[in-house]
Symmetry: C2
């Protein structure tokens, strides 16, 4: 089993997501990250799927993805030159002034953005590759993470 | 039909996504944006779902979501004070020097980040709310969008 990244263009219709995710779950593949959003054409969505799978069986899934009536294009970006990014929102405990200052310093030094300040919490936004996101989470953990939401990865092929 | 935003904590197991998306598609609800990523606990994922639904029937879906064995928590963030963000990667046609300069200027003035420069393309990353993402897309459209990937929305409740 290894991690693969697929980018699938589909018709933006109800049921597509259930059909696509059903193809993976039927084989016991775990989707570790999924991002679905509209493209420049509102009738077409792009699904970026990171899946932990067996390579041979994944080839079968890709063929079946192609056959789905709502599928327009299946791109396997695994091992390709790509730009990969994800977004993190993380709410951190910040009930003391001294802690608040430290958290604000973490945001400053990492280039992350403070997007909400509550009485006892600070919420931070960070965009970047997986490494960058993970590094920020590690830096914030000691203060107490209250909740977080990650978008899952999006990827485009690189033209370099 | 109206847009609702749900934040669902689930066990990070295979099949969960298929079961959750199946609940929506069985009622003809269209998931317009979906972001699935790990939380601070790698065994728990957060799904942020934007769905175009009928309010009464959505209440039924929420009850059924609660009943799913892998569901830990269902939060309805519709109409609440939240921080909502998404991420965009967009590859734009930039085959002439004059066009390249204009695109770089768009990135500079909007605060978007240039993440890849090819011989004939420029790829830009932008994080922000829906309004900000849409505005950037409109600014870049005249140059020719080659491909784009949006993460879908993530949201956390605001503590303001």
């Amino acid at each position: 089993m290894a991690n693969f990244i697929l980018s699938v263009l589909v018709e933006n219709k109800f049921g597509v997501l259930a059909r696509v995710s059903g193809l993976f779950s039927a084989r016991g593949f775990n989707i570790t990250s999924l991002a679905v959003g509209e493209t420049e054409d509102p009738e077409i969505s792009r699904m970026t799927i990171v899946v932990d799978a067996d390579e041979r069986i994944l080839e079968q899934v890709k063929k079946q993805l192609h056959k789905l009536i709502d599928t327009i294009k299946v791109l396997d970006l695994t091992g390709k030159e790509t730009v990969e990014r994800e977004l993190l929102l993380v709410k951190v405990n910040a009930d003391k002034t001294s802690v608040r200052e430290k958290i604000i310093k973490v945001a400053d030094t990492t280039g992350a953005k403070i997007v909400d300040i509550g009485k006892k919490t600070i919420t931070i936004e960070e965009a970047g590759d997986e490494h960058r996101i993970k590094a920020l989470i590690e830096l914030l953990k000691p203060y107490g993470i209250i909740e977080m939401a990650r978008t899952g990865k999006v990827a485009l092929s690189s033209d370099k």
